[in-house]
Every structure is written in C-alpha cells, then in structure tokens.
Subunit: 305 residues, 4 copies
Amino acid sequence: MSVVLGSNRYGKAENRVVRVYRDTARHEIRDLNVSTSLRGDFEDAHVAGDQTKVLPTDTQKNTAFAYAKEHGVSSPEDYAIALGTHFLDAAPPATGAQIAVEEYVWDRILVDGEGHDHSFVRRGTETRTAVVTVDGRASEQRVWVVSGFTDLVVLKSTGSEFKGFLKDDYTTLAETDDRIMATSLTARWRYDGTSAERDTDWNVEYEDVKAIMLAAFATTYSRALQQTLYGMGKNVLEAHPEVAEIKFSAPNKHHFVVDLAPFGLENNGEVFIAADRPYGLIEASVSRDDSSESGLAWQSVPGFA
Amino acid sequence: MSVVLGSNRYGKAENRVVRVYRDTARHEIRDLNVSTSLRGDFEDAHVAGDQTKVLPTDTQKNTAFAYAKEHGVSSPEDYAIALGTHFLDAAPPATGAQIAVEEYVWDRILVDGEGHDHSFVRRGTETRTAVVTVDGRASEQRVWVVSGFTDLVVLKSTGSEFKGFLKDDYTTLAETDDRIMATSLTARWRYDGTSAERDTDWNVEYEDVKAIMLAAFATTYSRALQQTLYGMGKNVLEAHPEVAEIKFSAPNKHHFVVDLAPFGLENNGEVFIAADRPYGLIEASVSRDDSSESGLAWQSVPGFA
Amino acid sequence: MSVVLGSNRYGKAENRVVRVYRDTARHEIRDLNVSTSLRGDFEDAHVAGDQTKVLPTDTQKNTAFAYAKEHGVSSPEDYAIALGTHFLDAAPPATGAQIAVEEYVWDRILVDGEGHDHSFVRRGTETRTAVVTVDGRASEQRVWVVSGFTDLVVLKSTGSEFKGFLKDDYTTLAETDDRIMATSLTARWRYDGTSAERDTDWNVEYEDVKAIMLAAFATTYSRALQQTLYGMGKNVLEAHPEVAEIKFSAPNKHHFVVDLAPFGLENNGEVFIAADRPYGLIEASVSRDDSSESGLAWQSVPGFA
Amino acid sequence: MSVVLGSNRYGKAENRVVRVYRDTARHEIRDLNVSTSLRGDFEDAHVAGDQTKVLPTDTQKNTAFAYAKEHGVSSPEDYAIALGTHFLDAAPPATGAQIAVEEYVWDRILVDGEGHDHSFVRRGTETRTAVVTVDGRASEQRVWVVSGFTDLVVLKSTGSEFKGFLKDDYTTLAETDDRIMATSLTARWRYDGTSAERDTDWNVEYEDVKAIMLAAFATTYSRALQQTLYGMGKNVLEAHPEVAEIKFSAPNKHHFVVDLAPFGLENNGEVFIAADRPYGLIEASVSRDDSSESGLAWQSVPGFA
C-alpha cells in the first residue's frame, strides 16, 4: 500500500475588501468578502513541505486588495474573473483558480428625501454571491461564472398547501390547505459558456433574476416548496437564455399554528410560532436542455445537492 | 455568616411570535421575538424549591402567544405594555415584570411594481426593539417604555477625522483628516413618564426617531464618533419632547486603508480592509435636563454604560 | 430645555491577546480576549468633538498587548488589575477603568500518554472571565474583582422535578417528577474588598469555585433550577469567605420527551428533543450578609439581573 | 428549449435527538444533531406539486426520534446506517438516502474524584460527525460510511516555519523560521467498502484516529500546514487499513507577532494577536492507492475540495 495525495487546494478566505469610488463628490461603495483558492501541482508542499511552487495565501490577499484598485469592482463577477485569470499568470504551478465573492449592499441615507453623497446604510437583506472558476491557460482556458445570492428570506402568509403525500408507519403529519411558507433562500445560477470575455451587465442581470424569482414566489399557488422552486427557476430560464442552470437550497422555516383553544381563543392562521430546528431542507436544480456542460463550475461551491 | 438571596428574576426568553392579520385579502404581518420576566417574592423557590408562588415560564410563553391574538400587536410597545401589566394581575407574588421585544420587518414583494397581498421579503436591516418595565399595581403602578433598535449598520466614506487626541508612551496611531467611519448602532430611547395609558403612535415615533438619527449621522462632519452620537441624540431630543433620554452603543467598525505602495499603486482612500476585532466601542447617553427620573427603566436592559 | 450628556465610556473591545511563555522548552499559553474601557471627563469629545482628553482606543489596544509582555499574564485577574490601574495613570482625564477578560483554555496534546511541550488542543468547555473595575487614584483608589465563567453546559438526566407551581388561565404545563435539567451556565463572583493588592491565587480559586458549583449541581435533587443555583452559590460562599457575592444567569435548555406512542413505542425518559427557543431564563444572586458593598463592581457587566 | 429538473433531494435537517440510557442508575447519554435526506424520483413534486411519492420531512423527523429508541444509538455511524437503510424500505420512490449526524460529547461531572451517575458536563471540543450514504436496494445496495470531526482547534507555539515559497509582484510576506501554527480542523475519513454489515467498533475507531492525528500534529516539525495534514493522514492510513481515504479542511488561524518595539519591548514570539479574517484555507485529501472507489460517499458532504 502507498499513500496518495488526492484533490487539494489552498487560498485565502474572507478578505474583507471595501472599495470606495470617490472621483466625484457622490461616492460609490462596493463591500466584498473575497475568497481565493488555487489548484494545481502542489504535491511537493504536501509530501515534503517544499514551498517552491506555492504562491502564499498572503500574496493572494494582497492581490485581492490591489485588484480592487487596479482593475476595480464594477461587479463581483467582473472583479472575480479578472482576479482568477490573473492568478493563472502569476502562479505557473496552478492549473486552476476559484474566486468566491460575497457582496453586501449599501443604500444611501435619505436626508430630506434625497440620497446622501457619502453616507450609507447597509441594506441587510440577501447577500449577493459570485463564484468564478478558471481552468487552464491561453486557448485552453475556460471560465465558469456562477452568480447568486444567499439568505433571501421570504414568506407567504397564505397560498400554500401540503397534502396528498406518501404515508408510512411513522407519519403523523396532518394535511393542510393553508399554511405559512417561509424560507431563507440560496440560489445560484450558472451562465452558459466558458469565455473570459462577456458583454453581460452583471448588475442588471442580478437584479432581474432576483425580481423574477421573487415574483414567482409571490404569485405561485404552492402545493410544495419543490414546486415553488421549480417555478421560480423555470421563469428565469425562460426569460434569460444566457442562464444555463439554477440551483436552489431552501430550508423550510416552519411556522406552526399555536393551539389557543385551551384559552378559549380561535386561531385561524393568525398566531404562529416560528421554529428554529429541525427544518425541512429542499435542494433542487433546473437547467435548460440545450445548455453547455457544467464542467468545474460547481466544484467546491458550498451547499448544493 | 448567613447566605442571602439577592436580586433575581425568571421568565421565558425568545418566544418567536408571528402574528398575521388576515381580515382582508391584504395581509399584515408582525414578526416578534418576545422575552418576558418576573421579579418578586420568590425566595421559597430558591431556598426551598417550593414553586407555590412561581407562575411557570411555560405559562408566560402561552400568554405571549395568546396575547398576540387577544390583544393584538399594533406595535411592539403596545403589545408589551399589555403583556407586562397582565402578568402583575396573573401572578400576585410578582412585584414587577419586564417584557423585551425584538421586531423583524417584512416588506411586500413587488410584482409588476405593486406590493403583493400576502407575500413578503424580510427587510434585514436593523432590529426594532422595545423594553417595557412594569412595577407595582393599581395607583402605584409605573410603566416605563424604552424603544430602540439594534444593528443599524451605517457608514460614511468621508466627512470624518480623528486628531488632536491625548498621547502617552503607548500611542502609535497617526492622526487623520479623512477616514471611513462605520458602526453597527444600537440606540434605545426612554419615553418620559410612567403611565400605562399613552396616546403615542409608537410606529410613527419609531420611524421618525430613526430618520432623524440617520440624517444627523449623514450630515454631521465628524471629529469623533462620540460627537456624532451626541448630535444624533440632541436632534431627537429637540424634535421629540416626549423622549426623555437616549442611550447609544456604537462599535467603531474599523476600515483600515490598505497599503498598496509595494505594488506601485496609490490608495487615496479607495481600498480598505474591514476589520473584525478589536473594535472601538463607544457608549454614551444624552437626556433632557427636565426629564423624569429613569427609575427601573434601564434595569437589565442589555449592553448599556 | 437643554440637552445633557449622561453616563458614557469608551474603549477597545475584543483584543485577542495570546501570550506564550517559552523560557523553557515546555511552553505555556494564555489565550485572552481583552476589552478595556475608560470613564471620566469626556464631555468635550461628545459636545465639541475635541479629543484633547481622549486616550485613543488604539492606544488602549497597544497597551493591552504590551502589558502581556511587560506585566505578563499569570491570571486574567492579575493582568486586568495591572492594566486597569495603569490606565488611570496614563489618562488623567479618566476617573475609572474597566477591564473585561475572557480566557480560552488549552490542554497539552497527549503523545504516548504524555502532554506535549508545545502542542495544544483547545478545551472548549466554559470560557473563564474576569471583570476588574478601577475607580479613583492613590489612597482613594478602589479595585473590584469579579471572576467567573460563561457557557458551562451541564445536564442532569434525572434527579429533577417541577411541580406544585402557581397556575392561571394560561397554564397548560403538566407537573413532572422526573425531567432532564440542562443549562448553559454563566456565573460571576465578586471578591470582597477593594484593594489592588491581594495575595489570592486566582487560578486555584477559579478551579475550586467551579468544582464546588459542579458538584452541587450534580448532587442536589432539584425541585427547581432556582433551588439548584441557590445551592451552588451557598456552597461556594460557605467554603470561600473571600467571595462576597455570586450572580447566576441560567437558560433552562428544555429537553422535551418525544411522544413515541403513535409508533407503538414506550418512552420512559429515554428519547428527548433538545429545543432551541424559547427557553426559560433564571437569573439569581446570592451573597453573604456580612459582605462589603458591591459599589461599581457590577456596572456594565453583561447579562445580570 | 425545455426546462429540465436536475439533481435534487429533500429531508429534515438538524433534528436534535438526545438519547438517555437509564437501564441502570449509571446513565449514558448520546446527544445528536441528525439530518436526513432522500434522493429519487421526485419529478412530480417539482413539476406538478404532486406529493404522492413524497414521504414528508416530518415523517423523517419522527423516524429519527423513534429509531433512537427502536434501534438505539451505540454510535453515530451504527444509528445512521440503520436509519438510512430503513428509509429505502419506507419510501419506495427514493433511490438513495443520506444521514448526516453530529455528536456532542458529555463527560461525567466529578464529585469527590468520581464521575457522577447522571450529571454531565459538555466537553465542548470537537464535534464528532458521521455521514452515511445509502444507494439502492437488496443485493444492489451500497452503503458508504464517512466518519470525522469538525472544529478540533489545535495550536503549536513553535516547530513551524514557512519559507522558500513562490514570489510574484504582489508578494510582501517575510519568511519565518518560527511561527505559531493553529487551525480549527475538520477531518473526514471514508471507510473502505460498501457493505451495510460491518463489525467495526466505531467508537474505538474514532478515538484512535483522532489520537493519531493529534499526535502527528504535535510531533511533526511543520514546513507547511499542507505537510502537517499530509503527515496526519498518512499515519492514520498506515495504522488503519479499513480507512480508505481522508479529507481535511484546515483554516490557518493566523497569529501575528505584535510589534512591541515602539514601546521598548522585545517580542521573541511571546505576544501574538489572534486574527479572525482573512485566514488561509488548506484543503487536502489522502488515500491509499489500493482503496475502493469513493462512489457517492462524498456527495453533498459539506466543505471539501
């Protein structure tokens, strides 16, 4: 028997890069959490502790900050593509790089009804995400872009049922025609193709995909969270041909009707207890049948079926 | 020497009460985290394990849910006053009650530009808070109301300096004319008086106090976070005579300018690293000189100087 | 009406100070989270933004690290006393200082049954705490020491009942002769007196107080969590005359018996669901009747009734 | 174009199952967090909202609790195998099941030097994990077992260097002969084979694998975290032929030497600041060259390269 090194990667996680654009009095701000990693021929580092081929994680950190200036941050996706392709130039032993970005959105503070020039309040709803995976060099280079968000918390106070399900000896759940449905949604969508050069407006795409998903959540009469997710994904795929595939992870945040009968009170879906654990967890993906292969796009992307 | 029981209280913490108003097709939702506690003559329970005078925390929980229906939740403050005064009726051994409420705000999901009737997305910025303390019964009863919020994250990308400070042998900090100032603000304001009956519109008050604070944060040229907080508080006190006192707790969330010189890049306040720890922590209170005594209003309220 | 500055303080929170003693091959490690704050005459900073009297929080940070070397860390208490008294010398406008320390304990990694010289594994049970409050200077100086721990998670699988409690219209809880009792205990004890010079072995004290509390928790037949806490405190006060007062905060981490009858199974206290929220919350203090006044010892100490 | 349902699964996450063995006065306790999920033919649920083939997550929850009694919890692995194979019997539309278990360890409270019969204190170091994946039925059934732990926090105060690394234009890191190396280690090891019937003593295995890893961490002079991980894995594979493969995820928890020179103090590796973010992140796997294929063993296992 001999011991074999398997898949491995290394990088610098959670660089908190804040980029302020201050060319005019009206500042813009991009607030990012950037994780970079490299894959490649790093066997010497593992087996012998030889760092000759290892570009330090500290250098990756420096580059993440320098690129916020050198390249700028017009969007998480654009910045991540620039950073990822750079690392394959900078580190010849690397065969691939992955850049995972979270973005936190800031709104302008309203003063007399107008957004202030340089004062902001954090929006605090979902976190926007982008995961860019780069593999190979020159004409062999492929770049996958996965956009998305985490923790978009949505709730329907009606328009959701759950019934007709499979039963076994351990089934006690009552069927219901009307329940609260709530989830803290993570969605990630892969853009078709593997080119580093794209003329996509990532920010416009992001807002539009999110708006379609929210509207589908709102207007779908839900017979299951699975069905709602499928509908959300379908609507996006139909409206955005450049989106190849979408993955959802949706904890079913249970809201249980509280029994108020002991106190002589009716409770027709008016008072609920929001439960923490356990929670249902639904994971699903939808794609267009004519989309390109996903390749390495989903490798190491957290939390997907 | 003999052992003496000192201050004590007990209750049920973090009841996740969700109240849906569904009298019309256009639902309303109030999403609360409710903690209740009682003080009083509970020595027997401590010294002898005798529960005769102890209204169980489970009962407190039941009441918190039942009151969301019986009394309703027009505001966290109104609901907390009702619940707190109820407990002094329900539990004769209690001499006082405190009800602490957090509220999470939901916005309607936009569908074709209109807010949906029963589908919501959680706003996710600050958490609104109310702490109501009730002491005594009948004509002796006093009710203190402290409204507020936690975790309102704000940032100024300029208009903030820090210089002219005291120096000692351990001082290495450089003075600065221009820095990012950011904080995750907790503010709590005590309303004047101790009456259980008030004709305050708590929701309007809340939005207005928050708006004044945000505007003051935005428009104050800041020579110190202390000065900014003081200005925010002063503006509220001047506009709202019913507010007696305000307490702030403001972590100074440091954003350090990254040194890009080693890479041949200028950094004129454009690229920052957002640091986690340590952080400055500024706590301050302001009050009107003619306000009533605070009494028990701040007892057990978390996180204040 | 005029606006008045009330209580205030400022400092640097959560300095993660790690001190390694490496004078011999057998290293020692102290791993601390240190928060410092100053009170005093800081009105100019608040009202006018004038920093003349403000020793920066950055300087406080530097001092916390420097003192880990200059003074050393024989215990959190000893280190905090040194740091707190220093700040009153360094910052003449300050009238008081508070140093709050958390300590994380590391055990030596076992290699062939022996503890390794310089390799450690974090123990991960409770966090040890010390809060030292210093007020005034020279002969007027008073120093309060509050030791303690947070998050010591303990559980009894029997030997706990809950019955005979007060009932009202909202009471549905069944009485029980046998339940799981579990809590994540925070305890803090104030040492008698206000001298800066003490010949206490803080580390020995800490271990002994904790051991007494644990043994009392284990061996007390519990009729209420209140009674258990009281017994734990009483045993410490009787064994340690230098301890003046003890405060407990104990969330009652509910473990509910799962109803297995629908599946034809008996459940005689064998299968439980550990619930997250809501939880009971019991806060209590015990003191010796002949102890000194607590003065400022508990000011701004988090989480106590 | 048509929309296609891709990979999907659903289940109940984070069932907090506590199992007490109380057949004698000396109780035993197993404290678990159990997540179950099913894969299979669930297209109707997604596309049409038809639940006919869906065994509810509520039923999965019931079963997790019932099995703690019916089957018992001799180890997380044994319990998870029983639960996973059960679900393929209970839910004919399912083609596979995954059971992920976390276990929290409790020690007996010491009273007069003896462990108490029914009073426990939570150990609080690492969390033990087991992920069991079951695919197919009858003679086609395959069962993969991955044991492991998360968050084992270890530190070496010397015996670690980092030098000789690759440099580019963004490299500023100084080489070092002596640094603190610390990580919060996640390790998972796959057992060889796919049989549901195994005569492994999972608890003994767990303790032995962990002890080997800890000893290797302690005694390896480290030229890189990669090399340390490789050494830890190699030692386990050499001692445990039943282990086929090991995966590590190791955040490099940086401890930076604090510059005390401005204060006239030397700092020869004695005072460090423990940083939060960013952190290095090293992920690596090692396997024996003659091991069986991993199949579905790692599917949906969180956090691995």
